[in-house]
């Protein structure tokens, strides 16, 4: 399922000491199926590893997953690390981002302030993240792709 002519690379990983792998496995499959080149860093990925991989692969997007409730502390200073490494990419975060019963809107604000372009909850469908990324990267689906989406 190819679209446009050039490929787009995304870096994907679970930040901190979180070992939840199912979500990013599904995301890897979904983004690959949607035509992206996916660099999956796996679980327990440090801020530096995200930055390094984004530079090495000239990634257009950095997708961070966190499911164990410590995302906020794991992401402190993350965007400074990306900037220092010279990463110029869209950054998303998704998962169970807060331990408590906070309203998701408050959580979204917190992570937007940390520098993420988009913030998703754990119920988000992979298709929605793909859709958002296409919009942010101004990728237009091909005819065949459009057919698939509407089916």
């Amino acid at each position: 399922m190819v679209f446009n002519t050039m490929s787009h690379t995304v870096v994907l990983g679970v930040i901190g000491s979180d070992a939840h792998v199912v979500g990013i496995t599904i995301l890897e499959q979904a983004f690959s199926a949607a035509g992206f080149d996916v660099i999956n860093l796996g679980v327990q990925t440090s801020q530096e590893e995200f930055a390094e991989a984004a530079v090495d692969h000239d990634a257009e997007a950095v997708l961070v997953s966190s499911l164990y409730g410590h995302a906020e502390q794991d992401c402190q200073g993350f965007h400074e690390v990306l900037e220092e490494a010279g990463v110029d990419a869209v950054s998303y975060i998704g998962g169970n981002l807060a331990v408590g019963q906070d309203e998701f809107e408050q959580t979204r604000r917190t992570f937007r302030e940390l520098g993420f372009d988009r913030v998703f909850d754990s119920e988000t469908d992979p298709e929605d993240a793909i859709e958002a990324l296409r919009e942010d990267l101004q990728i237009k689906p091909t005819e065949s792709e459009r057919a698939t989406i509407s089916s």
């Binding site: 496995t25 599904i26 327990q44």
Partner: protein
């Protein structure tokens, strides 16, 4: 080069001393004194004997809190109110990472403030005496449950502390739990754990060992789980362990689950040496739970029903609060009692379901393929075979966070809800078996009017928490 060979006695002693110097409480371990302590325990606290002589499935919950008196209270509650047959002591995450200093800080804080800053019982910090106080205070056998890649000091202290059962293994506590511990490293470390258990066994104190069957807990194809159990069972047997409980995590399809438990028992007895007493443990659903206690009780009950039919030696129960994490002791007891009621109502019934034999046969053939490839990769040595087979991807575990497994295999349910393999990657399986899986998944695709794709995998991962077994497309859902 590390091989499946018994650690010599002098080497055992050398490592043991080295290990015990890692943390002050290590000094409290004295093997002869420990043997004497174990011999002083009454029959009904001897884990292996109680488990092996039971005439119906014994129930065991999960539970661990940092302070000793709280842990005693918790276990007594689960025994009295939950009517548990066997008890657990779940170890905290710092101890699992061998961060005893941090565990100590957490324990100190818990003692000062009463808040539980640790997510389990730091047995190393409690030391031999602390463990024995727990064993003395609670009137049932207790198992150590954790998730520790390097569990050598934990084993040394808890064995000396009177625990007679110890969960885990070099693959099952590496692949699903950690990213960077090499498999070779964890095998070496677990050889010590098993060798130590074997040393107790030689002296008549049979330490029960229980490889962790559910692995990543998410749609693990039965044959992969069973192959890992057989490898870990063989490694433990080599080191002298004589009571081994092989595990399996419910996938939710009754026929496949009963078939898998039958195959586990059958192949366990076949692949492990005759001198080992093989028992089995069934874990109630380890995947995502519904965010609703009422529906969670349905999931738990389906596990109880499966256990009543398959009759494993032990069942690890879930609580209706599984969705939200650590349950209250009331909810934990409720999970035990719900399971008990279902088992006790169903176990005397003659429930023989069609197709279990065929499914068991398929699982056994698949498992033999995997065992064959392990033996071939290792030229007959299980340790080398396991390392090389994981390295080549001939052996693999789906959704494995570890760098030691490719994690490239992907499962999906077939039209009947049985877990099949959708993406084989490099898994070494006979072509005719692959065809069977393909045909079953193709049948599902036809039913659903969609292509076989990772979407099925994604839908299946969420299905039970969403209230169904199979992740059907939304358009096919309820009104």
């Amino acid at each position: 080069m590390i091989r499946d060979e018994r650690i010599p006695s002098d080497e055992l002693r050398r490592i043991d001393e080295e290990i015990r110097s890692n943390w002050p409480t290590g000094e409290g371990v004295d093997f002869e004194d420990a043997i004497e302590y174990h011999e002083s325990l009454p029959d009904h606290k001897r884990f292996a004997d109680v488990l092996e002589s039971a005439d119906k499935p014994l129930l065991q919950p999960r539970a661990g809190v940092p302070r000793l008196d709280d842990q005693i209270e918790l276990l007594q509650y689960l025994l009295e109110e939950g009517k548990a047959d066997l008890l657990p002591t779940t170890i905290d995450s710092y101890t699992r990472d061998n961060e005893y200093e941090k565990a100590q800080q957490g324990l100190d804080k818990a003692r000062e403030t009463g808040d539980d800053t640790l997510n389990g019982f730091p047995a190393v910090n409690h030391g031999v005496d602390g463990c024995r106080k727990l064993i003395d205070a609670v009137d049932a056998p207790i198992e150590v449950r954790h998730g520790t890649p390097d569990a050598r000091l934990l084993a040394a202290i808890t064995f000396a502390g009177g625990f007679q059962s110890f969960e885990g293994g070099p693959i099952s506590y590496n692949i699903p739990y950690t990213k960077r511990h090499g498999l070779e490293e964890t095998i070496e470390k677990w050889q010590f754990v098993d060798r130590l258990a074997g040393a107790y066994t030689e002296r008549g104190v049979r330490i029960n060992r229980e490889p962790f069957g559910p692995l990543t807990g998410t749609l693990v194809p039965p044959s992969i789980a069973i192959a890992v159990m057989l490898v870990e069972g063989k490694l433990a047997a080599t080191q002298g362990v004589r009571s081994i409980t092989l595990g399996y995590g419910q996938v939710g399809n009754v026929v496949q689950d009963v078939a898998a438990l039958n195959a586990l028992k059958e192949l366990g007895n076949e692949y492990l040496p005759d001198e080992v007493v093989v028992t089995t443990v069934f874990h109630e659903w380890m995947g995502g739970f519904p965010p609703d206690e009422a529906r969670a009780n349905g999931v738990i009950s389906l596990g109880g029903m499966t256990a009543a039919i398959a009759q494993p030696d032990k069942v690890i129960t879930k609580s209706p609060q599984e969705f939200q994490g650590v349950p209250t002791m009331e909810a934990n007891s409720a999970g035990l009692r719900t399971t008990r009621q279902v088992i006790d109502m169903a176990i005397e019934q003659d429930i023989r379901i069609d197709g279990i034999d065929e499914e068991q046969d398929l699982i056994e053939r698949e498992t033999r393929c995997l065992m064959d490839t392990i033996f071939e990769h290792g030229d007959g040595d299980v340790v080398q075979g396991t390392l090389k087979a994981f390295d080549s991807g001939a052996l693999d575990v789906p959704f494995a966070p570890s760098d030691s497994a490719k994690g490239a295999v992907l499962p999906a349910r077939d039209d009947d809800g049985r877990v099949r393999i959708f993406e084989w990657a490099d898994l070494d399986m006979d072509d005719d078996i692959k065809e069977i899986h393909k045909a079953r998944l193709s049948q599902r695709a036809t039913t659903e009017g969609r292509e076989q794709s990772f979407r099925m995998v994604a839908d299946d991962v969420d299905a039970i928490s969403d209230g169904k077994l199979i992740g059907r497309p939304q358009s096919q859902g309820d009104v």
